[in-house]
């Protein structure tokens, strides 16, 4: 790990201790998550033993959650720049130029452990946290996605967790007034003891409206705005950095409760206050609340600060400096104002009915003084703590059974392909997610051109001819079998989903959800996934502009620690420069010709068909041909731009059969497809899309495909009441109405509703 620059302390003896505060010992430090080495580093930085408050601050800042100490070395792999990128990783959220003087600001965050403890509040505060990251930057949130991974529905507590998470995501976003336009929901036993709740938010702002959390100007007042501070979530950041044991009930911090109403007026107050020109920098209080917000702000700006903690508005009396610094009460902001103009800012917040108080000021000299009723409880150099946090290159090792995992699976008989399709549609994995997204307001703000239910969602940019497209993707089964390919595939599928609405990727954000990085196999998964993501991002020209790492997603069970599958969730934003006719993801018109773009191969490694119907997770996942992906995306964008397509739907999990069925449901239109073998229907070969067009356009499309070097052929026609597969000479068919009914009921049925 990198050695810190040792700044000698100004106070030789440690700051005072409150009566009930323990004396700091290496053992206590270990309890707070600091390794012996890290504790040594802290003592070196201070030139003495830390006080209890200093220990709290350091252990929070150096927690995995805040410091990324185990993942930093890998994240450096990501391509983070590009012509459109105005702000890459490192701020509250990334910023890309989307034309007409507008920028898009977006990020994805995990709230996994809190959601497992208290699903409703955990998910709600997850959404609240990511929304604050967006409007902290000066952008107004215009759309959300949520990527959810649950365990088997019959696992203990799982129905309760699903219901709570969905209500939590819904209630918070609905009340705040941001449309939740899409997401992902998957179920797998590897999440039985550790569900994943990843929330994404997108905001927009004018170029010159962007704010950064970089402190400057000694003497500038540090203002505290929003909800009062309680004992909520103390040690949340450190908890998010520990693996989950069954007793975590015991060391469970006070649950953070979300207040979307306060968040909404906080949004309006912040955006209005930013317009006064009296704000230097602004930062939300997220994980490790007041500590991370103030230290990161000062750290980025290379300044010092003094906080007078007795001025922090409290919800309950008697919080110690330690508790105030570590509380994770929600809906709070740190606002750095220009000295002399603070009233302008305060007036706005008060007008919106929000509390705002001056709690300290920026100083020179790079030290943090945390004072309480005149006494100094912490006196720490900021920069060594924030910018020189420990960094680890954990040992990595591929799983011993990798070769075995990659052995091609022996394929069972498919039998009747339509029956196979029906059984797939009847699983919560493939069943419609309408039960979920109908609980989310996805039309508020009147920008939603395409909401949930298709490939990518599309929101128009008011006042411009453009629109933004959003999608969230990853296939953890692929990642488990081959994390590098899995990473590539996630990016490739996202690009494909965007291309199906004619959008060109402008940036990506990710949530790297993994197990315990101190396990070399998990570290290897992390390393390999990031390699895959990075390779795909480079090849497909998608900069990574923000992201989040969630490690220690494992459960202590009788049979030892259980890590989740590697789940590098990807959320991608695309630009539709000139919003014209968009194809639907379903069939529009009887008589339309159906074409398959992309080459056919029989690839079943990690396929949904084998997993869901034969309980087989075997084989190397489908190859990811990045060149083919980029050609396909180009082709789709060109065809859509030329208005040639009435339907475009990408092929992903479940292959052609699932894509065709989904395409039939939208308007309950039948279709006839010709394939040479039943297997062809369920292969998960990548870089493919199903499109439909008026007969007259078919030739032109085939020509364009040839020009782009994308294999393409006409495979059928839209029409009738049945979905019919012609395999060789034989025809297998089922009424679309019946398939749709199965698909619509699958999830509610599994939930017992």
């Amino acid at each position: 790990m990198s050695g810190p620059s040792v700044t000698p302390s100004s106070t030789a003896s440690p700051p005072p201790r409150l009566p009930n505060e323990p004396a700091v010992t290496p053992a206590l430090a270990a309890e707070r998550g600091l390794s012996g080495e890290e504790y040594g580093q802290l003592r070196a930085i201070l030139g003495r033993d830390p006080s209890w408050t200093e220990l709290g601050v350091a252990s929070a800042l150096w927690s995995e959650h805040c410091s990324y100490k185990s993942s930093k070395v890998y994240l450096r792999e990501f391509p983070t720049s590009g012509p459109r990128v105005l702000q890459g990783p490192g701020e509250n959220a990334g910023v890309v130029d989307v034309g007409h003087g507008w920028v898009a600001v977006f990020k994805m965050e995990s709230h996994n452990h809190p959601s497992y403890i208290e699903p409703y509040q955990g998910a709600a505060t997850g959404v609240g946290g990511i929304l604050r990251d967006i409007f902290t930057m000066g952008a107004r949130p215009i759309a959300c996605l949520n990527a959810l991974r649950f365990g088997e529905i019959d696992a203990p507590r799982m129905r309760y967790l699903i219901d709570g998470v969905v209500r939590g995501v819904g209630d918070y976003g609905n009340c705040f007034g941001v449309p939740t336009v899409g997401g992902e929901t998957a179920f797998h036993r590897c999440y039985n003891g550790n569900i994943l709740v990843n929330a994404f938010a997108l905001g927009v702002a004018r170029h010159d409206e962007i704010f950064k959390a970089r402190a400057s100007g000694a003497g500038n007042p540090i203002l505290y705005a929003g909800s009062r501070t309680g004992r909520d979530g103390i040690h949340g950041a450190t908890m998010a950095s520990e693996s989950f044991d069954i007793e975590s009930e015991a060391k469970r911090p006070t649950v953070q409760v979300g207040d979307p109403f306060t968040e909404k007026i906080l949004l309006e107050a912040c955006l209005e206050a930013m317009k006064t020109g009296a704000i230097v920098a602004i930062q939300d209080m997220g994980a490790a609340g007041l500590t991370s917000s103030t230290f990161e702000m000062a750290g980025r700006g290379g300044t010092g600060m003094r906080l007078d903690l007795e001025k922090v508005p409290l919800r309950e009396p008697g919080l110690s400096p330690y508790e105030m610094m570590l509380s994770e009460s929600q809906e709070r902001m740190v606002v750095l104002a220009k000295r002399g103009r603070e009233e302008e800012v305060e007036r706005v917040f008060r007008r919106w009915g929000l509390e705002i108080a001056e709690i300290g000021e920026i100083t020179d000299g790079g030290r943090a003084l945390l004072c309480f009723h005149g006494e100094t409880y912490a006196d720490i150099p900021i920069e060594p703590l924030t910018e020189q946090a420990p960094v680890y290159r954990r040992p990595t090792a591929p799983p011993p059974d990798l070769a075995a995992r990659w052995e091609a699976p022996t394929l069972p008989e498919i039998g009747h392909p339509v029956e196979t399709l029906e059984r797939l549609l009847d699983t919560p994995d493939f069943g419609s997610k309408r039960w979920i997204w109908r609980q989310y307001d996805h039309t508020v703000r009147t920008n939603t051109v395409r909401g949930p239910g298709g490939d990518a969602a599309v929101v128009r940019l008011k006042g411009t001819p453009s629109a933004l497209a959003l999608t969230a993707d990853v296939n953890p089964i692929y990642c488990q079998l081959d994390p590098e390919r899995g990473g590539m595939q996630a990016v490739a599928e996202a690009v494909r989903n965007l291309a199906c609405v004619g959008a060109e990727p402008v940036g990506l954000t990710d949530c790297l959800n993994f197990g315990n990085p101190q396990n070399p196999h998990v570290a290897w998964q992390l390393q390999q996934s990031v390699l895959g993501l990075s390779a795909a991002c480079r090849a497909l020209d998608v900069p990574v502009i923000s992201g989040n790492v969630s490690l220690y997603n494992e459960t202590q069970t009788e049979s030892g620690p259980q890590s989740i599958y590697p789940t590098p969730a990807v959320a991608m934003v695309g630009l539709i420069p000139l919003l014209g006719h968009l194809p639907e993801s379903h069939f529009e018109q009887a008589g339309d010709r159906i074409l398959l773009l992309g080459r056919d191969r029989a690839e079943f490694g990690g396929s949904a068909w084998l997993r869901l119907l034969h309980d087989l997770e075997q084989g190397r996942p489908p190859e990811v041909d990045l060149d083919a992906e980029s050609k396909l995306a180009l082709l789709l964008r060109e065809l859509i731009g030329a208005g040639l397509l009435s339907t475009a739907h990408d092929l992903s999990e479940g292959g052609l059969a699932i894509a065709a069925a989904e395409a039939c449901f939208g308007r309950r239109l039948g279709a006839r497809l010709e394939v040479s073998t039943p297997l062809e229907l369920f292969s998960e070969t990548q870089a493919r899309a199903l499109v439909a067009c008026p007969p007259a356009h078919s030739i032109e499309i085939l020509r364009a495909a040839e020009r782009h070097g994308v294999p393409a052929r006409e495979i059928g026609e839209v029409g009738g009441d049945d979905l019919a597969f012609e395999v060789g000479g034989e025809t297998f068919r089922a009424p679309v109405a019946r398939l749709e009914a199965i698909w619509e009921r699958a999830l509610p049925k599994a939930l017992g509703l």
Binding site: N174, G177, F261, I265, W352, R460
Partner: protein, 239 residues
């Protein structure tokens, strides 16, 4: 002709309503602050959707106490037009400007989906551009749209022809007990009502979300355009 859009803390469809009137229907529109006791001479006052004061306690209950509501009351008493959409409808109920009350949706879940509405009367400014029996498709997005009142008062409501919109099927058929057609379980499938004078109108669905074909549905346009037209000299439309 000036449209005022009330901004309560927690309103979140205020910008949408403003956009519909100002940019789509091209009329003069302004925001009205909940804390001011005036509507600045607006001819039409719209209470937008959202979660005013978080809808804590009961939807609309806390907002109904805002200073601006006394000005809205005065405006209504003088025959001025007041339109409440979704949360705005709930505020009108809690403020006593419209009869009845809202309960949680029968399924106890927030619902965001399209519904079909049958127009019950078109002799109001709000419905002047609609036909009786016409079926509209509009989105709903609420957790408390389950309209409720005592049977006697519901009868009285019907007798006075105060029911303006009802949830229905695509063909206009009404079945209050069909959760598909009447998803929130509203009594007698009531989706929108007016006061006796017909100048105060509240509905749960969101016409302002359906005024641009770009977003896939413009069934709300005629309602808003008609309302504007009724206030414009010679009733000629601005849209």
């Amino acid at each position: 002709m000036k449209v005022g859009v009330v901004v309560f803390p927690g309103s979140n469809c205020d910008h949408d309503v403003y956009h519909a009137f100002s940019h789509v229907l091209d009329c003069e529109a302004m925001f009205l602050w909940h804390g001011d006791e005036t509507i600045h001479g607006c001819d039409l006052v719209v209470l937008p959707g959202g979660f005013a004061y978080g809808d804590y306690l009961r939807a609309g209950a806390l907002a109904a106490l805002s200073p601006v509501m006394s000005a809205v009351r005065r405006h209504a008493r003088e025959g001025g037009l007041v339109l409440g959409i979704c949360n705005g409808f709930q505020v009108l109920l809690e403020a006593g400007l419209l009869p009845g009350a809202m309960r949680r949706n029968q399924g106890l879940r927030f619902l965001c989906q399209d519904v079909y509405l049958r127009v019950e009367r078109n002799d109001l400014p709000f419905t002047s551009r609609l036909r009786v029996g016409q079926v509209l498709r509009l989105p709903i997005a609420h957790a408390e749209g389950n309209y409720e009142d005592s049977p006697e008062r519901l009868d009285a409501l019907e007798d006075r022809r105060q029911v303006v919109f009802r949830y229905c099927g695509p063909d206009g058929s009404i079945c209050a007990f069909d959760a598909e057609l009447n998803p929130n379980g509203a009594a007698r499938a009531i989706a929108g009502i007016a006061n006796e004078q017909g100048n105060v109108f509240g509905l749960m669905p969101h016409p302002e979300r359906s005024v641009e074909s770009l977003l896939g549905n413009s069934d709300g346009l005629a309602m808003l355009a008609g309302t504007v037209a009724s206030l414009t000299p010679l009733g000629e439309a601005r849209a």
